[in-house]
């Protein structure tokens, strides 16, 4: 699984030629620093770009192009990795051999992506005002709607409280209060800066070559002549905790959401990364993990109780849905699992099961074009040399002592509880 790498202006191109899939999977990663001043306007960019291009100014015309390319998939998402805000544009188009298409669908897809990214509809020196207004409305609804999914909302609030003084507190999709201050011209200005400041990595997985993709990118992407990409600055993975912060929010909910934020103090590029993966697996990723077994299976306190390791930020989060009155009990059991791991109470079975599951998950990456690209990009971003095989090799070598060593670096930072309104 070796990507061929090339460069066209400020886009780094990564191509994996393979005929295992029925499609071409295309992903463009565009990252800029996650910052208070630009987070919202940057997030709004893809919403407006999808509305119209110079070639196809009307949204319907643009979307019809996708239908014509046998329902090519196009979408974007906005995420954060450590200190970086990413706009990710994705396309997925069928390999021509299945449909006898008269035009190359890979060509069509890259033309579409190139147009959307670099050849937008411009009116009076800015974006079309109607598009900007409508998409501000859409992004606003999007931000407002976080509250609808209480599991998601509680997770978001926990991170906000835990990272109060770090850029990571920001939602990658921005802040509501910024939206009224953005207009068609200011957004276009931000877009122009972003096109020059962002680092662009374009991934193509499918039946093609680096030469073909390079040629298509040269033809279809009008990148700025004098780009000044800002180098990625990975987040500081270690962070000391002086005291545990406890936050309770009240709202009309029928189930309490208990979320914990912990400092792992191990980042993606850290030599201990794989040990941290194993730690997190034993703690709470699987049905055999300590959290699931003790909070759910033994005590019937919850339907879900799991942990997640965010390696680019070096933190672990724990989430569970419980009865309000079981708060103390559930918290006690969760804390006991953390302490048991610090004391080295880890069974051979737990260790072996976790290693087997992690190994399987690593291998499965190779079956999914988007996962292959994502894995490769993560290592580019963290600037670390790593392969699926090398991670599997390292997993096999992790010992109980390694896991205990990691456990003793982990510090509980924040306890967040979302519960019902107070009875009066």
């Amino acid at each position: 699984m070796e990507f061929q790498v090339g460069k066209v202006k400020n886009i780094t191109i990564h191509v994996l030629p393979t005929n295992r899939f029925k499609t071409y999977a295309i992903t463009l990663f565009a990252g800029t620093p996650l910052e208070e001043q630009t987070v919202t306007s940057t997030a709004l960019i893809p919403y407006v770009l999808r509305r119209g291009t110079a070639r196809f100014p009307e949204t319907i015309q643009l979307r019809e192009q996708l239908d014509n390319m046998y329902g090519a998939g196009f979408g974007f998402n906005i995420v954060k990795r450590g200190n970086t805000q990413f706009i990710q544009l994705r396309m997925d188009v069928i390999n021509d051999r299945f449909v006898n298409s008269e035009h190359s669908l890979l060509n069509g897809a890259l033309q579409y992506l190139g147009d959307v990214l670099t050849n937008p509809l411009i009116e009076q020196g800015g974006f079309r005002e109607a598009y900007v207004d409508a998409e501000k409305g859409t992004l606003k609804k999007q931000l407002d709607s976080i509250i609808n999914d209480k599991i998601h909302y509680a997770a978001e609030r926990c991170i906000q409280e835990m990272c109060e003084h770090e850029p990571y507190r920001l939602n990658a999709s921005g802040k509501l209060e910024d939206l009224p201050h953005i207009d068609a011209n200011s957004l276009f200005q931000r877009y122009s800066d972003w096109l020059s400041e962002a680092q662009f990595d374009l991934y193509v997985v499918g039946d093609t070559t680096l030469e073909e993709v390079t040629k298509l990118v040269e033809q279809n992407f009008q990148m700025p002549a004098s780009a000044k990409p800002i180098q990625y600055k990975p987040a500081e993975a270690s962070h000391s905790v002086s005291s545990v912060k406890t936050v309770v929010d009240r709202m009309e909910v029928s189930q309490g959401k208990l979320n914990l934020g912990l400092r792992m103090n191990v980042g993606y590029a850290d030599p201990d990364y794989v040990c941290a993966l194993v730690y997190n697996g034993i703690l709470g990723t699987y049905p055999h993990s300590k959290l699931f077994v003790n909070v759910r299976e033994k005590e019937s306190l919850a339907y879900y109780c799991s942990s997640r390791y965010d390696a680019h930020k070096g933190i672990v989060t724990i989430q569970s849905g419980i009865e309000f009155e079981n708060y103390e009990k559930a918290l006690g059991i969760i804390e006991k699992q953390l302490n048991d791991m610090k004391a080295g109470h880890i069974s051979d079975v737990e260790l072996e099961q976790t290693k087997a599951m992690l190994t399987n998950a690593m291998r499965e990456i190779l079956d999914n074009a988007n996962d292959i690209a994502g894995f490769d990009f993560n290592k580019q971003y963290a600037n670390v040399d790593r392969s699926v095989e090398s991670v599997i090799e390292q997993i096999s070598k992790v010992s109980k002592d390694d896991v205990q060593r990691i456990a003793n670096q982990v510090a509980l930072d924040t306890i967040y509880f979302l519960r019902d309104r107070q009875e009066v």
């Binding site: 329902g71 019937s300 099961q353």
Partner: protein
């Protein structure tokens, strides 16, 4: 072993039905690391009233199929099956839908062991009073979790409004009240009826050898004795053609109201290929009318009546057929009214020919893209198979579809007497 090849999509299936009635399908995928296997019973939340042969029919508590799914993971020796799969490097899971319960794993090694584990645990129930009671607290939390989920509530509200008698309107997990009525004897009764091999389908897809897999399953089944099962009869009260009520409203804190429209069809009882064709044409019709590249979608979006959450689907089986459309909207009444006016207009003008061709092409491409995913293939194949349809014929029906088919379906499907609306809004303060 029967070989079924589908050259236009470059796939070949291998099929065998064992003596005990178990059907096995294998789809080898060259170059794939992973193997994905599903072991499914044609038994879901709606099968709550049944009998085998001349048994006295029994009506069981709501949510029992889902409860049974949870309890299957417990083994007679007290072992947890998840732990066993984990040790063998497999990620296992299960889910219950209206009409089926599916157990599955995905793994890149120890495929034989994992497949044996999958079959054995599903064929080895172990219910005790104690382990059944313990599960009630967990499932009660699962039910509460869904109660806080506005998307789920608006969806179920719509079923409630559309269906008067049919158990499709029952929440798959049941209610906190109904699950407390479940005991081990009821679980065994359901198990012995619906988990007989003749009511089940094993689907294996990935980097495997078909002959080897089928031999392995054959040997596994030969070592177990199953008495032939009589015919399973499922009883459903006659569902009136009409909807129950035209509007259901629920209160839950949401940033914007959620509004779904459902059109319930009266003439059901279609089966097999006829059903599949109806599904294909209906999906095509909905996409032409409401897809994100349609002028109507764009006009709703421009009026800020809908956002990216707007969606639609069509669902049909032998017993029910309905479309669902909607999403978040600031003004549910206006959305409903605008959609009604648009449907009325389209019923008169018919479907645009150019748009028909474009969307047809899109659906063909989407279908082919789906074939990249072993998970999607296993899920869809099983779903169709239990309705006596062949998923690989979907492409053919899309290719054969004509503008006339879609226009005929349009007239058949949309009847405003059959329209139900479900809304979730914040409580007024």
């Amino acid at each position: 072993m029967e070989t079924l090849s589908y050259p236009h999509v470059e796939e070949t299936l291998y099929r065998e039905v064992l003596e005990n009635g178990l059907e096995i399908i294998v789809l080898p995928k060259q170059g794939f690391q992973k193997t994905y296997a599903t072991f499914a019973t044609k038994y879901g939340a709606i099968d709550n009233h049944f009998a085998v042969g001349d048994e006295t029919p029994i009506k069981v508590p709501d949510g029992i199929a889902h409860f049974l799914e949870h309890k299957m993971f417990e083994e007679p020796d007290g072992q947890d099956v998840f732990a066993k799969f984990s040790k063998q490097g497999a990620a296992a899971n299960a889910y219950t839908s209206f009409d089926r319960t599916v157990y599955l794993f995905s793994a890149t090694e120890n495929i034989d062991d994992n497949l044996t584990t999958l079959i054995d645990f599903v064929q080895r129930p172990h219910f005790t009073e104690q382990n059944v009671d313990k599960e009630k607290g967990i499932i009660a939390q699962e039910i509460n979790m869904y109660n806080d989920n506005a998307d789920w509530r608006v969806y179920y509200g719509l079923f409630e409004a559309m269906y008067q008698k049919h158990p499709i309107s029952i929440d798959i997990a049941g209610t906190v009240e109904s699950i407390y009525k479940i005991d081990k004897d009821l679980l065994y009764r359901c198990y012995n009826t619906f988990y007989h091999p003749s009511n089940m389908l094993l689907f294996v897809v990935g980097g495997v050898d078909a002959e080897h897999i089928i031999e392995l399953v054959k040997r596994n089944q030969a070592a177990k004795s199953y008495m032939p099962l009589g015919n399973i009869e499922r009883f459903f009260e006659e569902e009136p053609g009409a909807i129950r009520q035209s509007r259901v409203e629920k209160k839950l804190h949401v940033s914007l109201p959620k509004c779904m429209l459902g059109f319930k069809e009266q003439a059901v009882h279609k089966q097999g290929e006829e059903l599949l064709r109806q599904e294909v044409i209906s999906k095509l019709m909905l996409d032409i009318m409401f897809g994100s590249s349609s002028p109507f979608y764009q006009s709703l979006y421009d009026q800020q009546l809908i956002f990216d959450s707007f969606g639609f689907e069509y669902n049909c089986s032998e017993q029910y057929a309905f479309s669902v459309l909607g999403g978040d909207t600031p003004d549910p009444d206006k959305l409903v009214e605008t959609i009604r006016a648009y449907i009325t207009e389209t019923l008169q003008t018919g479907i645009d020919a150019e748009r028909f061709e474009r969307v047809k092409r899109k659906k063909i491409g989407n279908y082919l893209r789906m074939l990249n995913s072993p998970e999607a293939i296993a899920t869809e194949f099983t779903r169709y198979r239990f309705r006596n349809c062949d998923m690989f014929n979907v492409l053919k029906y899309y290719e054969e579809s004509t503008l006339d088919d879609v226009n005929a379906r349009l007239k058949e499907h949309f009847d405003f007497n059959q329209l139900a609306v479900s809304i979730v809004e914040s409580p007024s303060t």
